[in-house]
Every structure is written in structure tokens, then in C-alpha cells.
Homo-oligomer: 399 residues x 3
């Protein structure tokens, strides 16, 4: 769906009233209407940019980023989203800052927000910590806004927490929708989120969880596949079951990778650490038990090593629908023989889907911009039309 | 005073002619008119922003920052100020730069200034160094501007030096003015700048000095309180005496914290290192005597430990006017039981004044923007009216 | 040549058609027309800025920078160039990024380019690596643009590679042209690129190579002077010979510094490492032979030490045309008695030319902006006129 008017109509039909001056945390905190409006908004903003029509809604203002984990893709996506809306990026580098031991979250959150219209946070390392920290930031700026200390309400965009990776999951969902030709065509499609072997360990669960917590909502048949011991959070699986039931799709879990791949339409294949191990690691960190952490790491690596056959090989891809399932990955992937001796995916598979993988990634800046846009206007569809009518050029054209 | 026209009138009445194309170093280098114009300008810019009227005066241009000490609050304040005027931030990270040993200040200052409209510097660590470095930068860019090498005169904003912290002092003064309902109401108000115990040591003196060097200028009764041995620079005390006399207020120093707090209207309570110790440390650094520095640190910590009773407790606050003095701190504070076992302030006192503390901090971006604005126009009051008449929206509104 | 109309005419006369949507790598990949258009464009953009006319051609968009070596001058120049055209800087700090081992250049290049209009790269440390990496980035974004993954073609600006330093060479050439009063006056001028002693070693050859590869193209008599053993790449010398022949100038190499300085009009005097040693070092790095590198460094320092008499002294400057040759340096220089015990240049020589040196450096932001500008419009001369006619102010003026 690339027609601008159609996209505006979709947004117009959806109830986005609760998105106004509101944050974007996990996708499961958003209604179906809100999810669909976000996807349509992402496409509409892209459409305007493709037609060289400026989407600047701010003449000045800051987009504040806090990355508690290294990042290239998400960092550039957030920067791009802010830039296309007219916000300048100000990164809070916790290493260069004077955040004193014991300084409250409310204090830091307020101090960085005097001119912030949006705060983007990535905090995905420790179970039970990332989303909780973000919620505290949200409460803080809400309080400071209510008390008249902040002149505008900075909304928070969750750039990956310990449970969900909403900007990734939505970018991925939009990629699938574009590939299958519309959200209504998700019904009956088999989407597989499969674990894969990687020589590193301790990768966040949030991609896997984000996938099953979102893809189940629109009628698809979602399968989570992983070796025994690599379970995800039970709460998210419950959500997946509930959504599948409501949407007329299905959700299933298997420890048999082949079964999962058979007749699949979409394959997302990626390593993650077992939820229970991540919980234990969080606990050990809290206790400062670094010997325990070392021991745990060794155990996890040894466990990992037992499942080297969990890889997205040509053989496995052959099992999918007509051998042509859409292969997806949030990147960077551990590619066998390229970035790892043995990794998540065969080089030939990865290479064949390279363009699609990059197109998948290209959705993220627009998804983030959509989240911000929807939080800033009571009637976002009308504002899109207003921007089109304004017709300000992004790049000056020759007259 | 939040009425825009009134603020414009105040600025109009003041002589700001020497602020044009001029820097903002210590407050004591500015006339009363200039101080008052700066405060009114800060409020006027805030007023425009609150009414969603853009204060962008630059279509492009750079605000260059140099932080020789860690910073969150001031970094974000400077970034916000530049952003609201239309400048992009370019930080000179001395670690990533190719500044060769012996490269002159004039060279570096010129190289970073080809498109800079303002340079913000924080350099507060060594007595006799910070302000001197800034003055050298000023002379450098003045020379390069005069010689036609720079097309515009980048003005320097002192984001904290070894003597003064002008953006903090002005933000604090504006906070007090807002709380007492006008600058004319400062007369007769007892403002206390008190030392407090902190487990860290070697904190800059510039906040204490900035406070007594500014608050004495408008008729208030200013008291500096500290244990014996924690003297500030005698030159600044002389200024405080002179200003108090001129303004019809008073300046006094005491080693008795209770005496200071009694009947106070405003309490600013914060740790700092003794001036003489800081001078000695600067000397030891210059000599490369790291054993000497270690020894000095131990002595200072031991000295500090003798004055743990210097804290802003509930008991102390009870001594103030009606027990309700305005408590202030430049943040972050060492809060007893929160960010320190024993610190500068009781948690209950800090919590009670939280909103006021954040409001105090919220003045800083506007104070910095005001300093820049006043340096850029011959008739800044008229330009404010011009911006209001232009009526450009900061955030696009729904039409 | 500072007349705007004249500059527009020059650009108009030149064939810049191949610069559209194209990159700026080594100067020797550009035609004479393209070089001359770049220089005229740099002056035209400066002219507009001096008249307070905005050169913003982008309403939003990113300028991505990748610095694989420390940088102040070039970093600020690139930031300034992007800013004056309306692009926000987004730096790819490879230390903070999640670029996995083995991640392809195409992947990284695409991931950072979704909203990038220009990518600036400095990669000058290893022979055979820097330019090759940039070419790979170019191929990557071209592929991704062609495949519809990128909506715009981000062009690459070479901010220094292992062979050439095009932005420096062009800034330097424009400086000479301004000093001699026009490009046609280069004919018959003796321009000397001389090696000089520096206590550090291993400085890139790209400045020396960039100089002889560019200055020979417009009729000047170019001399490369260095001690035996400090040869540059033979390929670049071949280019210098060819260009000199074509342009009616000359190119010569000598190991006699005095001969080179005699009657010179322009002196560029700077240390560099021998090409063969740099090749060896690159090889040793590739082999991980760190003992070998240590040994090589010691040898190079010892070799260097034999040529301390290669310095731009007053005595040497006296040999030049009327003792008044234009002294130039890309900065920072190793100044004898200032930034080095014994260095590249006498302090008195450096001081006498300080203003000229800074003016030389001031060309760089405009040269970079010119490169970007020329890549973005089919008829760049017309666009210049359009910008002048638009008359948007860079800084709001009092009305």
C-alpha cells in the first residue's frame, strides 16, 4: 500500500486518540488500531519523503538518546527519524556525564528534557531492568510536565528493552506486509521465529519475544522453534496464545527445527540466550558475583555448542513453502564462514536475501518517526494532509 | 514577570550596547543593566517558546562546545540554547582531536570557528587556569575576526570557570526573583551560601563565588558560611563587599552555620574545596608531583570528615524564616542516605523542594540562550518583537 | 575572484555533468573542468555566506562521518560544510557501534545511509587500504540505491585516504590562486612541496602526493624535495609528470632542499613517512607482527634523526623569490622550540605567516560544501543564482 490517500484513510479510520502525548513501549500495550496506524504512518512518511516533501513538524527541539548497549542500526534509525521531523539529536553518553551515584531517575530524566520532544532508550541487557527503567523515565517526565517544570511532554520511544524490541518487530511486520501485499494477506501465513546457533551467547530475547508477541495479532500461524532449555518468558508466550486466538491465527512452540521450517512462508532465524540463564545472570550481577558470572558464561557456551545444527542452511530453507520462504534477520547476522566459523545462517542463503534484508531494515527509521508523529497530534491523518498541502521541499529543486 | 511586552520594555530600557558581539565571562564583568537585561531576555525567550513561537535567529551555523570536565546539565543546557536559536552543536572532544602538543590556543580556536557563532567552554578544575584559557580563546577569535579570517565573531559563553559559574548564578538569581516576585523584592532578603559536608572533595569553588559575587548586587543580605579553612578567593569577597555597599544590601561571612541559617529566606548549601588547597593542587599538578597530590587528597578528606555536621538538615531548615526558606542546589546533590551515607542535605528536605530545584535548573538553557541572543543584535528588544510578529511556529499546529 | 556573477559564469562554462550524483575521491579522477568548478563553487558559497544569504539546500537529511584517525580540522570542516547545506551530522563512532566481526562493508554502508545525503570518510593510515575501503562504500551505496533500498544516492567525500588528501589539496590550491590573483597566474610559479624533519614519524604521504598530483595541472613548476629514502608512490609521480607536460608547467624531484627553495614562489614544507616503510608497516600489521612494527618504528625514528637539517628556517626562506615565498602548511605544524624541540619550521617563519595559514585552512569547509553541492544538482550554476534570488537570511537581520 503505497498510495498516500489510502494510507491517510487507514490512519483516519483507526482510533489513535490514546497515542497523543503518549509513549511507545511494548507492542502489546498498544491496540490493534494503534499498531495498524503506526504501520500506515510509517509508510505515509516514507511516501512523502520519496516525493521530496518535507515531514518537518518541528522548527527546533531535541531528540534525546540513551544507549546502554552498543548500537549502530538503531542509533542511526533514531537519528534519522528525529532529523526528518526536525529534531536535533542530543545523546546522553553516561560515561561523559556527571550522573552522581544515587541520583534519581526523575532528576536525570528532567534535566535532559527541558527542550526534549522525544527520548529514545535502549536498555536490553538485564532481565527485569530495561523496561522498568524506561517506565521510571516516563513517570518522571510526566510528573515534571504536570508540575509545569517541563513545557512539553517528551514522549519515550522504547528502542529495545529486556522484553520487547518494538521498533524492530514493527519494522519486521511492515516488511512482511509489503512482501505479502497487505495486512489482510497475513491470514494463514506460517511465520517461524527460530533459534539458531551463534558462537557468542547471551544475546537478548527481545527480538524473539517481540516477534511472537506481535505477529500473532493479525491471523498468521506463528511458530516458535528452539532447542530445549532456550525458553522465552512465559508471560509473552501467554500473550502470543491469546492474540492468536483472537485473530483467528495460531501459535505453537516446538523443539524440532525441521517441523518448524516445513511449509513456512517466513523464517526469522536468530540466536538468543535462555530466559532462565538471563535471569540468573541478572541476579549474579546484582550480587556482584563475578566468579559466578564467569562460570555461567562457560556453561552457556558449552550448552550453545550442543546445538550447532540449529542453522538456517540451504537444506533447511528447502523445507519451506516452495523452498522460497522469506528469510529475515534483524542484523547483524552470524554468517557461517563469513562472520563466524559456524553461525546462524549459510552464506548463500544470506546473500540471496541481501536486498530483502536491507529493505527490512529500512523500515525502522520510518517506524520510529511514526511513533513520534502519532504522539504529537490529535488528528495525525489531517496533519499528513497538511504537510502534503504545504509541499515544502526536502531538497531544493531546480526551478 | 511573565508578560512579554513588559519583558521587552525592561530590555529596551537597559543599556546593552556593549553586549553586542561580546562574550559572557564572569558576571562581575557585566553592568547591572546587562545582568538585568540577560534575566529579562531569558524570561522573554521562554515566554515565546511557551507560546509555540520559534526563537530561531540562525538558519544555519554552529555552537561549539568544549567540556574539560564531565557534564550533563550544562551540556544539555548549552545544546538546548543553541538549538532554540537555530545552531547545531559541534563538540570538540579533546580526546578524539588532533591537537598537537604545543599547538597554540589561537590556532585551535580559529580552526573550530570558521562557522561558529558561539563557543561554550567549561574549564573549572584548576585555579588560575580556566578563565585564563577562555580569555585566550576570546583574544584568538577576536584577532582572527579582525584579520578577516573568520566571517563572523564567535562569542564565548563561560559555562563554568575556576572563579565563577555565571550561567548557574544567573539561573539561580532568576529562580529567586521568580519566587520572591520581582527583582525589587530582593531588598532585605537574607540569602545564605553555605558550605556543606560531602564525602567527595575538591568540588569547584565557582558556585559559591558566583553566588556571593552576583546576589549582593540587588540589595539582598548575603551571608557566606563555612568552616574555618574553607575560605574562598579574597578577590571575590572584595567584590561582594563592594556590591553590597552599592546596592544597599549587605555581605557577611561566618563560621557558624546556625547563625547563617537563622531567619534566612534562601539557602544554597553545597560543598566546595578550600581555595588554598585548590591552589596547592594546581601547583602540584604543574610540578607533576603525583605523590604530593595523593597526600593532599588524603589531608583534604580527613579535614572534610571533621565537618560532617555541616548539613542542610530539617533541624537547620527550622531555623530559617518561618522554617520555610527556599532551599536551592545546583545539582546533583549528595543526599544523606540516598547518594551518600552522610551528605549535604537530608533526603526529606531535598524531596520537599524537588519541584523548585528542577524549576531552578530549568532557567539555565534560557539564560545561555539570552547571553547568545544579546551578543547578536544591536537592538535585541526590537528583535524580540520581530520574532513575535514573525510568528513562526516551533511545532506545526493543526490548521 | 570574489564577484558572484563571475563565479557563476565560471561554473556555467565548465562541464560538471559527471559530478551529478557522483563521489569526490582523488583529484586525479576529476577533469580540469571539474576541479575548476569545485574551486569556483567553494568561492561562490563563501560569497553567499559573507552576504548573509543562506546556502541551505536541504530541509533535513544526514551527513554521516567516519573518522578512522583522530581529527579536529577536517571534522569541523565537514561538520561546517554539512551544516551550511542543511544536513545534520551523524558520526559513526566505530567504538560505540555494533559492527560485528565479518560484517560486510555493504551492510554497514547501507545501514547508515537510509537518510544520508553524504558520507565523509577519513582513512589514511595503511597503504592500499583507505581508498579501497572508500571505493567499497561507494559501490555499496550505489548498489543499494540502484536496488531501491536507499531513496537517495549518498555521495562520498574523501576526507583523506592513503594516497590523496583531496579536500586539503583543493583548499591549498584555492589559497594559492587567491594569493596570486587567479588560476591563470599559476603559470611559471615555482611551487615546492618539501619534506621536513619532525620528531614524530609515520605521518601520511597523502598531503605530499595530493600536492604534486594537483598543483602540476595548471601550468606551475612543481618541485618535490626530500631526503633519499623518503620517496612517494611512483604512480603519483607519474601523474605529476603527465599533468605538468599537459599544462605547460614542469615537475621535478630533488634531494637538495636548497635547490628546491631557490626562487620558489610557494613553499609547502611538511614531514611524511617513506612510502616503502609505510607499505612494510601495513604488511606487518596484516601479519600481526608487533615486534616487527616496534623494530620498524625504531629504524624510522633513527632515519628521521639524520635529517634534522631539513627544516623551513629563516635561512631557507631567504633563498626563495625575494625571500618572500608564500609559506603553507596543512596544520598542525611541528614548530621548532614551540611544539617540538626541533621541528618542521622556525617559530619566526610560522608566526609571520600565521594569518595566511589560517586563511589557507578556512577554504576547507567551502571546498567540502562545493563537492557536495556539485553532486546534488544537474545545473549547479543555476541553483546558485536561485539561492541568491531566494535571499533567505542566514542570520535574521533587524528590519
Amino acid at each position: 500500500m503505497t498510495d498516500f490517500k489510502e494510507l491517510v484513510n487507514v490512519i483516519n479510520e483507526k482510533d489513535t486518540s490514546k497515542m497523543f502525548e503518549n509513549d511507545f513501549m511494548q507492542t502489546w500495550k498498544k491496540s490493534d488500531d494503534e499498531i495498524r496506524a503506526t504501520l500506515a504512518m510509517a509508510d505515509a512518511l516514507r511516501n512523502l519523503r520519496e516525493r521530496n516533501i518535507s515531514t518537518k513538524i518541528f522548527d527546533s527541539g531535541l531528540g534525546v538518546s540513551i544507549f546502554r548497549d552498543n548500537s549502530t542500526r538503531t542509533r542511526f534509525s533514531f537519528a534519522s527519524a528525529c532529523n526528518m521531523l526536525g529534531l536535533a539529536i542530543q545523546d546522553l553518553d553516561e560515561k561523559k556525564s556527571q550522573i552522581s551515584h544515587g541520583e534519581t531517575v526523575r532528576e536525570t530524566a528532567t534535566m535532559i528534557s527541558f527542550m526534549a520532544d522525544v527520548i529514545g532508550i535502549r536498555d536490553d541487557m538485564y532481565i527485569g531492568k530495561g523496561a522498568a527503567y524506561m517506565e521510571e523515565v516516563i513517570e518522571s517526565v510526566k510528573d515534571s510536565y504536570r508540575d509545569g517544570i517541563l513545557e512539553q511532554r517528551p514522549i519515550l520511544v522504547d528502542l529495545q528493552d529486556d522484553e520487547d524490541h518494538p521498533t524492530q518487530a514493527l519494522a519486521d511486520l511492515n516488511h512482511i506486509i509489503h512482501e505479502v501485499g497487505g495486512i489482510e494477506n497475513l491470514k494463514g501465513k506460517k511465520i517461524v521465529m527460530s533459534w539458531a546457533y551463534s558462537p557468542s551467547y547471551g544475546k537478548p530475547l527481545s527480538v524473539a519475544q517481540g516477534t511472537i508477541g506481535l505477529m500473532t495479532r493479525f491471523g498468521a500461524d506463528v511458530v516458535l522453534a528452539h532447542p530445549e532449555g532456550y525458553e522465552v518468558m512465559p508471560e509473552v508466550e501467554e500473550l502470543a496464545h491469546k492474540y492468536a486466538e483472537e485473530s483467528g491465527g495460531s501459535y505453537a512452540r516446538t523443539n524440532d527445527m525441521k517441523e518448524a521450517f516445513t511449509d513456512a512462508d517466513v523464517i526469522i532465524c536468530k540466536s538468543w540466550a535462555p530466559f532462565e540463564a538471563m535471569e540468573k545472570r541478572t541476579q549474579l550481577y546484582a550480587e556482584g558475583d563475578f566468579d559466578g558470572i564467569d562460570k555461567l558464561e562457560k556453561e552457556l557456551l558449552a550448552d550453545n555448542g550442543k546445538f550447532k545444527d540449529w542453522a538456517c542452511t540451504e537444506e533447511m530453507m528447502n523445507l519451506t513453502k516452495d523452498g522460497k520462504a522469506l528469510y529475515m534477520h534483524p542484523l547483524p547476522a552470524d554468517i557461517t564462514g563469513v562472520s563466524a566459523e559456524e553461525g546462524e545462517v549459510d552464506a548463500s542463503v544470506f546473500d540471496r536475501y541481501r536486498d530483502e534484508l536491507y529493505r527490512q531494515a529500512s523500515n525502522k527509521p520510518y517506524v520510529i518517526a511514526a511513533m513520534i508523529f502519532l504522539s504529537k497530534f490529535k488528528d495525525p491523518a489531517k496533519m499528513l494532509e497538511q504537510l502534503e498541502a504545504r509541499g515544502q521541499e526536502r531538497k531544493v529543486s531546480e526551478k
